[in-house]
Symmetry: C2
Subunit: 508 residues, 2 copies
Amino acid sequence: MNVLTYNPTTGESELTDFVESTAADVALMCAHARLAASVLAGKSLVWRAGLLEAIAVNLEADAPTIIALADAETGLGETRLTGELKRTCFQFRFFANVVRDGSFLEASIDHAYDSPMGPLPDLRRQLEPLGVVGVFGASNFPLAFSVPGGDTASALAAGCSVVIKAHPAHPRTSFATFSAVDRAARDQGAPEATVSLIFGLEAGIALVENTEVAAVGFTGSYAAGRALCNRAQAREVPIPFYGELGSVNPLVVSPSAAAERAVALGEGLVASVTLGSGQFCTKPGLLFVPVGVDGDALVASAITALKKGAGATMLSASIREHFEASVDELAGQGGLELLARSTSSPSDAGSFAALFGVDVATLGSQREALMREYFGALAVIVRYESFDQLDAALDSLDPALTFTLHVSDDDEMAPALLARGVTKAGRVIVNGYPTGVGVSWSMHHGGPHPAATNSLFTSVGATAIRRWLRPVSYQGVAAKWLPDTLRDDNPLEIPQRIDGIPFGRVVS
Amino acid sequence: MNVLTYNPTTGESELTDFVESTAADVALMCAHARLAASVLAGKSLVWRAGLLEAIAVNLEADAPTIIALADAETGLGETRLTGELKRTCFQFRFFANVVRDGSFLEASIDHAYDSPMGPLPDLRRQLEPLGVVGVFGASNFPLAFSVPGGDTASALAAGCSVVIKAHPAHPRTSFATFSAVDRAARDQGAPEATVSLIFGLEAGIALVENTEVAAVGFTGSYAAGRALCNRAQAREVPIPFYGELGSVNPLVVSPSAAAERAVALGEGLVASVTLGSGQFCTKPGLLFVPVGVDGDALVASAITALKKGAGATMLSASIREHFEASVDELAGQGGLELLARSTSSPSDAGSFAALFGVDVATLGSQREALMREYFGALAVIVRYESFDQLDAALDSLDPALTFTLHVSDDDEMAPALLARGVTKAGRVIVNGYPTGVGVSWSMHHGGPHPAATNSLFTSVGATAIRRWLRPVSYQGVAAKWLPDTLRDDNPLEIPQRIDGIPFGRVVS
C-alpha cells in the first residue's frame, strides 16, 4: 500500500512512491541492522564522531530540498524549518563532541588490590552499545525530533544501528532526511543497514516487537506511546521503551512577580503558549496567577496579546479539528471561562489560540479536562488566593516535562515552590519560559509519568546517549585484549575513574 | 497470620512473633515512607554518608545475634556469615564514600552563553532521589543481598526511603538486621519511616503496586522476578523494576588453556561450582571444554575434585529436594551423562554436587533443560571440537550475569571469545572464576534478560545508586535557591562538569 502525503497549507493529499513496510520487510531490516550493530560496536570513537559530522554536512547540503519538502508536509514555514535544520545539524555535531569527550562511557579502572574484603582482581567497567535501536519520530518537529532527530543521533553516537519508523505526517521529509543520513553512513564505510527506514503503523508495531531490537525511542502522544510501551514490556524479552510523551506544563506567577511586572508577564506567557501554534510538548498549559489587581492586570495583558496574535497553519487538518473541538468543549465546561480567542476565522487554514480562566477550586472538580494535554495554542489561567491553596493545587497535578516559576528577587515563596517543582517535572525554570529546549550538557527533557514512560533519562542533550548503553565489567583481562578506552595508557585520553578517584582529581 | 521460621540444619519449623503485613499495613507504611522521602531529599550528602556509616556500626555491634539467627535460619555457618556481615558493613561504608565523592549526582553547569543556536539560559542538571524504594531480598545471602543489602544501602545513599519485604527464608534475621538499620536511622535524626519492614507474599505484591512506591529492587528467581516486574509495568503509573534474576553462566576453556593446565582448571572450576553449595547466581553452569586428551584430563580432574568435596546444608528442604529432583531428571535426559555425584548420602541433611557431560551438539536438542538455572552445585561440561562449533554454541545461549574464559597468554581464540562474551553477559572474566562479586567502583552485576529485568544497571557496586535517581534541570535559578551541589562555589567540592568540561580537565 502506498503512503499518503498531506499538505496542511493547501489541504490536499497525494500518493507517494513509498510503500508501507510489511512484517517481512521489518524482520529483514532488523536482521541486517543486528549485523550492522555488531560491526559498529567495534568502530572507534573517532570514527563514530566522524560519521555524526558527515551526517550534519549532508543534511546541510540537502537543505533546500529538505526544507521545501518539510514545509509542504507540515506548513511550518521556511524560517522555522531553517532553524530546525540548523538545530538538527548542531545536534549531530554536539553528539560528535560527546563521543570524543568519552565521559559517556563511564570508564572505571580498579587495579587488583587487597581490599578489606580480601584480594580483589583487576576490574574495569565501561558502557557498551545495546545493539539495534528503534526510533519513532514526532509530527511537530519533522527534523529535530524525527528521522534525523535526537534519538537517531544519540543512538548512532552510542554505537548502535537504528531502524526508524517514518512519521505518517511527513513521509517525503522522512525519506529525504533518511537519504542524507544513509549516504553519510555509506561514505564513511559504515556497515550496510546502519540506518533503515520503515513506513506504516503495522510496521511500527512489528519494530517494537522484533527480537533483534534492543530498545526504542519515541516522541509523541501519551496514548500511542503508552500502547507501544506496553507492547515492549509484554515481549518475551522486554526492552526499554523511552517515550517522551505529552505534558500539561504548569507555570506559576507569584504575587510579588505579578506586582512587579504584570504586563510583561501577560505578554511573555502568551508568546510562549502561542509559539509554533502551541504545538510543543513544553507549551505552558496551566498558568497560576494570583487573584487581585496585579493578577487582573496580567490577565488583561495576556488577553490583549492573544487577540493581537495571528493564526498559523497547524500541522494537519485532524490536529486542527481536534484542537477546535477541544476549545468548544472546554468552553462548555462548568467553572471555565473563555477569556479570549484569537481572531483568525475558524473557516480559514489558520489555527486560533484560546485562553481560559478558572478558579483554583475548579481544578479539582474539572481535573480530567484540565489535566488533558491540548495540542495547540490553548492555556488555562488558574487564579489562586494563597500560597497554601496554590501549593495544594500544584501537588495535585500530574508530573510534567517542565515547571516554570515567575518570582521576584527575594520572593519568600520561591524555595518552597522550587522544591515542589523538582518533584513534579524534569526541568524547573525560574523567570523564563519552558518552550525552547537547548541541546546541551545540562539539558534534561523528560519527567515522571505521564510526561515520559521512563523518568530516568532525557531525550535531549548529552546524557540522552545513556539510553542506548549497558555496563560491562572486564575482570582480569590483559591490556592487549581490553578496549582501548579501558587501558591504563588511555590512548584517547578519555576521562577514567582510576581506583575510585575521578579523572583529574588529586588525592589529598 | 504469624510467620514461620525454618531451620535447615535441624529440619524444624517454628512460629515467630512476626505477623504477615496486611494490605492496610503496607499502604500506611508506604504513605509514611513517602513523607520520609520528602524530608530525606533535603538532607545533605554529609548527613547521608553519616547515616550509612552509623548503620554499619550498628550491624557490627549486633553481629553475634545476627550471625546466630542467620545460621539457624540458613545453615550457612558462622564463617561464611561472619564474612557476609563484614561485606554488608563494608558495603554501607563504601556507599558512604560514593555519597561523599558526589560524582553520582552527575552535576553539570552550563552558564548562559550565545550558542550557535542563539542565546541559551543558565542551565544546571543533577540527579535527584526517586522517592520511596521497595526492596525484595534474596534467600541465599541473608545479609548482603537481603534487608541490609546492596539495594537498601544504595537506595538510602541516593536519598530515598526504603520499604523492605522480608524474605520468608529468614524472618528473624530480617528483623534483627532491620532493627540495627532502623536504630541507626533514629539515632541520626532520620525521619520516621526512613526504613520499614513488611512480611508476607501478599504484602510484597501490595508493595509493588502501591502508588507511593517509585521503584523496586529485587534479587531472586526468574519466575518470581518476572511476575513482580509484570505487575510493576501493569500499574497505571509503571515504575522501574530492577530484578537481578537467575543465570546459567558459561565458562569456556580454550584448547591451549586445557593443554597448559588441565588439572588445575578441573579443580578450579569444581571449587567455583560447589562454593556455597552452588547457591550463587554467579555459579558457572555450562563449562565448555575441548574434546581430546587435554579436555579429558581436565574432566578427570574435575570428577576427582567433585568426589572429594563434602556436602553442605542447603538453604531449605524445598531447595534441596528441588535440586535432587533436578539431578535425577537430568540424569534421565538423552545425551546427558552423569559424570560424577558427590558422596554425601541423599538421606542426610547435606546437599550433593553433580557434574554432567554432554556433547556440544546436544545443546540444541536439550536446550530447554540446559538453559534452566539449577540452584545448587550442578554443572554441565559441554565438549566441543572446533572454534566455530564453540562460538555457534555460545551464540545460541541465553545471556547471563557472567561469562568466563580460560585462555593461554597468546591465545588466538581470546579476542573473538571475549567479544562474544561482551554480548552475552554483564561481566566477562579471563582466567578467573565468576563466583565472588566485589563491592567496588568498577563492578557490574547484572546482564541482559533473562539475567536481569533491566540490563542498564547493576545491583552491586557504586553505580547501583543510579537506579534510584532521576535527572532534573534547573534553568535560570539564582545561586541562593540552587542545591549547593550545583552552585558555582561548590562548597562540597564534588565533581562538576562546567560548560561541557569534565571536572579537573584543562581546556587545551
